[in-house]
Symmetry: C2
Subunit: 105 residues, 2 copies
């Protein structure tokens, strides 16, 4: 791939019905710390669903990460900080969706 | 909302098993034309899933649009060009996911 392309990594969560607001916040905060812990994350943003279309399949949270190479993603996925985040998330996760793509116009 | 925030609009598709590659391409091309037809679309990129994690729930295509306001989104959703795109997509659509969010850090 050319070096000016970016690899997007989209992660969506639906939390369990009995997950508290405080635990949702812990997961949000833990994910938001990852860019400071994993240098391969070149871009990061997130937010909660506000679509009026009713097609979110129950997903409420979206995290949008950018890598500049597949090697960057390959370093991120097994990174200890990412694994530790998984430990925070796991007990509260109902379902997850991950889609990655090279951004084209 | 402050004017420097951006409203993201993520759309994912899974096509029918019997949709031809040519018809998939027609849908891709039709979606890619929308930014030139709908001025409220302030950013546009797309790509096909290449995540190694196996958590894409069958979705193969992701389109990532940016609006600068909820009014922009409200103009986009019922826009005639968007509706025409829906006509191209509809016969080939197995499932769709739409999640929108105000981008935070």
């Amino acid at each position: 791939q050319s070096t000016d392309k970016v690899l997007r990594h989209i992660v969506m969560f639906k939390f369990k019905d009995n997950t508290s607001a405080a635990d949702v916040k812990k997961v949000e905060d833990a994910f938001r710390k990852l860019p400071s812990q994993i240098q391969e994350i070149k871009g990061f943003e997130w937010g909660t669903n506000n679509s009026p279309e009713g097609l979110a399949q129950g997903f409420t949270h979206c995290f949008f990460l950018t890598f500049d190479s597949e090697a960057g993603r390959a370093a991120y996925l097994p990174h200890p900080a990412h694994k530790a985040f998984g430990g925070v998330l796991g007990p509260h996760l109902d379902k997850v969706l991950v889609v990655d793509y090279w951004a084209g116009k």
